[in-house]
Symmetry: C2
């Protein structure tokens, strides 16, 4: 193999596929990037079998061929090369030279006969979504999953398509985060659970252009994301997702309208009195026109009042502050509505258009003023 390409294009490609290289693995070959030069293009692939990424880079191919290069060292080398054309050539023993200006690296490559390529992608069933929207919807929900839970479904997000609507749901045992997005056209219904790891990685490698799309392909056991010259394939989480709609209620006894940033800053301040690992709730005392937030800990106490619009009953309720902060941080609205029933029932932060619902369970607290 003998190829030439620009350092910047090469770096971009190696960085993208490196996202599929696991930190630890028992299978040595998973630490490698497979570089394949065809007559006209160069393809790089990395795959840990739960998730794989391939990308095509612009290059001049003098001699087709392939070589597997250890991902970490390959990335380190490319990153530090001068900003110029890079020549990569391998001999029959897969010794690889990487040459740029006066710098010449020699590393030992592999044939990679045990390399596992991406599973074939059936392109029959697909959905288009803008790069920007995909990144955003993941950011706005992913904090609610728990990848360490015994229940594997909690480690993924449910992507559900009905006609021209995509609903993304993430939950752990304490909260549910839901985003609803309008698509440009209607599709046949689908519902899959995509692992959190794949979603985290795809949201990092997608450039996030609002004018460019990602195509999502739905298969029986896999999902694939395709954008620009890159394809990611991830294994789906098996089984049925939780019956979300049965868990949600639109009844409420109290509704408050509050300035989001003031509320967020206030909870943020209260939280600093809580030592890490300590599960102190923030207690909100909601009365007419006023939300008083209180926290008591071994370090000290804090209270602060925020002006609100309230309809319905007064209520005293406690929450894990982290759950409120997580949700408030990803809501764009300046003013938000919060719906409450009683101190034992979940609260709902939601808009009137159904674009988002954040359900959070309250926590018990002992009332010491």
């Amino acid at each position: 193999m003998k190829i030439t390409c620009s350092k910047s294009k090469l770096l971009e490609g190696v960085q993208i596929v490196s996202r599929a290289v696991p930190n630890k693995t028992t299978l040595d070959i998973m630490q490698y990037i497979m570089v394949e030069a065809d007559d006209n293009f160069v393809k790089m692939t990395a795959n840990d079998t739960d998730m794989g990424i391939e990308t095509i880079i612009e290059a001049t191919v003098e001699e087709p061929g392939k070589v597997a290069l250890e991902a970490k060292i390959f990335l380190d080398i490319v990153r530090k090369l001068p900003d110029n054309d890079v020549l990569i050539q391998t001999d029959e023993r897969f010794q690889t030279q990487i040459i740029c200006e006066n710098a010449k690296f020699n590393i030992i490559g592999k044939e990679g006969e045990d390399f596992v390529y991406l599973p074939g992608v059936e392109k029959s069933d697909s959905v288009e979504i803008s790069q920007y929207t995909l990144k955003e919807v993941i950011r706005q929900t992913i904090f609610s999953i728990n990848e360490n839970d015994n229940n594997k479904q909690i480690g993924g997000e449910c992507f559900e398509i009905k006609e021209n609507l995509l609903r993304v749901v993430a939950l752990d045992g304490h909260r549910i985060s839901i985003r609803r997005i309008g698509l440009k056209k209607s599709y046949t219904g689908k519902k899959v659970i995509i692992p959190g790891k794949a979603l985290n990685e795809i949201s990092k490698i997608v450039p996030g252009d609002a004018d460019k799309d990602v195509t999502i392909y739905f298969m029986d056991n896999h999902v694939a994301f395709e954008f620009d010259s890159t394809l990611m394939v991830a294994r789906l989480i098996e089984g049925d997702y939780f019956p979300i709609d049965q868990m949600l209620s639109s009844d409420y006894e109290t509704k408050i309208h509050i300035h989001k940033q003031s509320f967020l800053n206030c909870i943020d301040r209260a939280t600093l009195l809580v030592k890490e690992g300590d599960k102190k709730p923030v207690i909100m005392n909601i009365t007419d026109e006023n939300l008083q937030l209180k926290i008591n800990s071994t370090i000290g106490s804090m209270n602060e009042s925020i002006a609100i619009n309230k309809t319905g009953k007064d209520i005293l309720i406690g929450f894990n502050p982290k759950f409120l902060i997580d949700a408030l941080r990803v809501i764009e609205d300046e003013e938000i509505d919060i719906y409450l029933v009683n101190s034992k029932s979940p609260c709902y932060i939601k808009d009137t258009d159904g674009k988002y619902i954040y359900m959070i369970l309250p926590v018990n607290f002992t009332t010491v003023s």
Copy 2:
């Protein structure tokens, strides 16, 4: 005590004195900041006895008094307050309220009767240096000390003043870094060893204004740095410093003139083939007009040539790349001169004006192609 001051001034003050609060200590009171309100000003002090900092902040004092507040929580609270006036008041049991807009914090303070104040500063013997220059000279030398060495003197820097020159020296067993700075006037001679920790902290809290000075006070066992409204006092390291001048030589057999950034980038690239903790030298083969840099490791090999101007003999010499990188990073000159004797003798990177000397010992290497 009852005082009011702006959040920004308060935060600046708490951040500065927090630098003297040790992470771990057996003495509880060292984790506290002493806040003292006199009729006209508020002074904050923290002191771990090796190093202490006090700073004056602008404030309106309604009721003089004092209180010791736990540094970490005090800093956390102030940092998260809204950007407005802050009221701090304590009762007779040192319960402390911190109030800003609608946020009201209660924390438990202390009388601080066991608090150790800064030692008195004799202001008879002092030197003025610009804030910028002090920060720079520390940055340009501090990497050469070793605070974990058995020899305490290696954990500090030698500040030596002769007439209108300040010479700062730092060394470990493998290298010596020297900077010489012209002062605005002449002073009586002095020579002290200042602990690395104090220098690191002072270089962080000094704003670095080129038009403002730091006054350095020299005492028998302490040194003090005064700037703006802040005073830091540090205990000196006892004993005589190393006889540096005897260690330096100006003889050389080979002199090379090289582009600093190209050389630095080249060493940086070579280093990526070295696993952390592995002590692989970079080998430089210096011939006429050419410096060839080579590294061989278990990961692979790299070689690169750089154009140089050389006078004197050819030489093959190996160095710990980190030591070269440390020195090259802090030299401002675009082109530098390196002086060499033979493969067993130190190299000197130095300018012709005597502003800097970086001496680095070579390392042995086995010559495998």
